[in-house]
Symmetry: C2
Subunit: 275 residues, 2 copies
C-alpha cells in the first residue's frame, strides 16, 4: 500500500526536520513517487500528520492500557515504565515528532487529537495509581500522575536526542523506586480535586456510541476471520441493545483483542462497556 510507504518516509523527515519544515515535495521525492500520487493517498498534508498520530497513539494507548489492566501488582509499575520506554525507543521517530510538535498551533484538529490522547493516557496512569496505592494516595494522586508524566517526558529526551545506550531495565527500576517514594511519602499535594476540574472540562470525542458504531461497522467490513467477524457483529448488536451478560461481552472482547486491526476498537468497547 502506497499509504504505508508515505507514512514511513514522512515520519523520518518529520522527525528530522519538523512538520512545517518538511514539504510535500520532499516527501514524494523521498518516496520516489510523484506529487499527484501523494494526493491520491491523502487529501492534504494535514491529513497525513493526523493519520500518523492516530496510528501510533492508538497503538501506544492500547498497549499501556492492557498492561495496566492485566499485570499483577508486583510487576505493574516496572512493566509500565518498561513498556513505555520500549515503545518510545522502538518508534523513536514518532516520539521525536511528539516532543517537537508539542502543542504547536498549526492545526485545530491536530491539537484536539493530541489533547484527547493526552487525556486518555492521564486516565490510564490514574487507574494504575489507583490499583497500586489505592486510598493511600487519595490526596496526592494527581500530583503523582503529573510526576509520572514528567518522568516519562524528561527521561525519554535523554535517549531520543542524545543517542546514548539505553539500559531499559535500569531505567525502569530507577523510576519505580522514585515513583514509590513519592507515592508513599508525599503529603503536600499541589494539584487538588478542584484544580483538576478546571483542567479537565470537555473530554467527549471518540467515546460516543455513534462514533464507536461507525468504526465498528467499518471493521466488520475489513475483517475476514470468521470468529473475529462474528464477535464484532455480536458486539455491535450489544451496543445497540444490551442483551448479553457481562461474561459473554468480556469473552467477545477477548476474541478480538489480539487481532492486529481490532486493538483500538477493542479498547474503545472495553471502555464503553466498563469491563
Amino acid at each position: 500500500m502506497k499509504k504505508q510507504l508515505i507514512m514511513d518516509k514522512a515520519l523520518e523527515l518529520f522527525a528530522k526536520q519538523g512538520f512545517e519544515a518538511t514539504s510535500v515535495q520532499q516527501i514524494t521525492e523521498h518516496c520516489g513517487i510523484s506529487k499527484g500520487a501523494f494526493y491520491l493517498s491523502f487529501k492534504s498534508k494535514d491529513e497525513l500528520i493526523i493519520a500518523l498520530i492516530d496510528h501510533f497513539m492508538m497503538q501506544f494507548t492500547t498497549e499501556i492500557d492492557y498492561i495496566v489492566r492485566n499485570t499483577e501488582i508486583e510487576k505493574l509499575l516496572y512493566d509500565f515504565y518498561y513498556a513505555t520506554f520500549h515503545s518510545f525507543h522502538q518508534h523513536s521517530d514518532f516520539a521525536k515528532i511528539l516532543m517537537k510538535e508539542q502543542s504547536q498551533t498549526f492545526n485545530e484538529e491536530f491539537i484536539v487529537k493530541m489533547h484527547y490522547f493526552d487525556r486518555l493516557i492521564e486516565n490510564i496512569i490514574l487507574s494504575m495509581i489507583e490499583r497500586l496505592y489505592g486510598e493511600e494516595v487519595k490526596q496526592t494522586k494527581y500530583d503523582l500522575m503529573y510526576c509520572i508524566k514528567g518522568f516519562m517526558n524528561t527521561y525519554s529526551q535523554l535517549f531520543l536526542f542524545y543517542n546514548v545506550p539505553l539500559d531499559l531495565n535500569l531505567l525502569s527500576e530507577s523510576l519505580v523506586e522514585k515513583t514509590n517514594l513519592l507515592a508513599r511519602h508525599t503529603h503536600v499535594p499541589f494539584i487538588s480535586e478542584d484544580l483538576i476540574q478546571v483542567i479537565k472540562q470537555p473530554m467527549c470525542e471518540e467515546g460516543s456510541k455513534e462514533q464507536i458504531l461507525e468504526i465498528l461497522e467499518q471493521k466488520i467490513e475489513e475483517i475476514e476471520e470468521p470468529i473475529e467477524k462474528e464477535s464484532l457483529i455480536l458486539l455491535k448488536q450489544q451496543l445497540r441493545e444490551p442483551t448479553l451478560s457481562p461474561a459473554i461481552v468480556k469473552g467477545l472482547l477477548e476474541n478480538i483483542r489480539n487481532h492486529p486491526l481490532c486493538k483500538w476498537i477493542s479498547y474503545l468497547l472495553q471502555n464503553y462497556f466498563e469491563v
Copy 2:
C-alpha cells in the same frame, strides 16, 4: 526604542501562534509600523527570535544563579522553585515560546543558543544540589537534577496552558517536599557519571575570554554611571592580566551586579573568575 516595541509585540504573536506561523507582515501590522521599519531594527526574522531568547534567558539564568549562590540553605530550595515559577508566570509569553519551540530544527543558531542556556541551567541546578545535599547524593545527583528539570517543565505547563489560579507558595512547598524525598531516599541512579559525559560534550560558546572581553568593551561604552564604568574598566584590565586580589574582584563584581545592563556580564565574569 523601536526594537523593544517589536520584541514585545512579536513575543505576543509567537506565544499565540508559534514562530514559523507568524509572518513579519503580521508583526509589523501589530506594531503599527511598516515592513521596512522592521528591517531597520533586525537584520532578519531569525535575529529577532535570537534576541528574544537572549534577553529572557540571560535574565532568568542570572536570577536563578544569584539565588543559588546567595540564599541560606534552609530557604534555598523553596526560593529556587518560587523564583523559577514566578519568572515563568511573569514572562508567560516567553515561557510558552520555549515550550512550543522546544528543540525545533528551523535555525542552527537557535538550537545552539538553547543548548547553551540549557546547559547553564543544568549546572546551576547541580551546584544547588551540591550545596543542599553534598556527598549524600554523590551517586544520584544527575538523576535528581533531571527530576528537578522535569518538575519545572511539567508543573509550569499547568498554569501556562490552562489558566488556573496559581498558588506559588503551595507549589513551591509541594516541590520542595518531593525533591527532598528523592534526594534523601533514592538509591538506584539511572544517569551515571559515564552517561553524563556522553551527553555533555562541547560547552564552550560564551565562556571564552575573547567573547567576554568583547561584551565588556561594549558595556563600558554604554554605561554612564562612574562607579559602574570604572569597575568595568578595572575588571577588563584584570581579565587581560590578573593583578588584583580576589577580594577586590569580588567587590568590583558587587558594584556592577545590580545595574540593569550589567546583570549578564557580571554573571559571565563571576563564572570566569571562579568566585
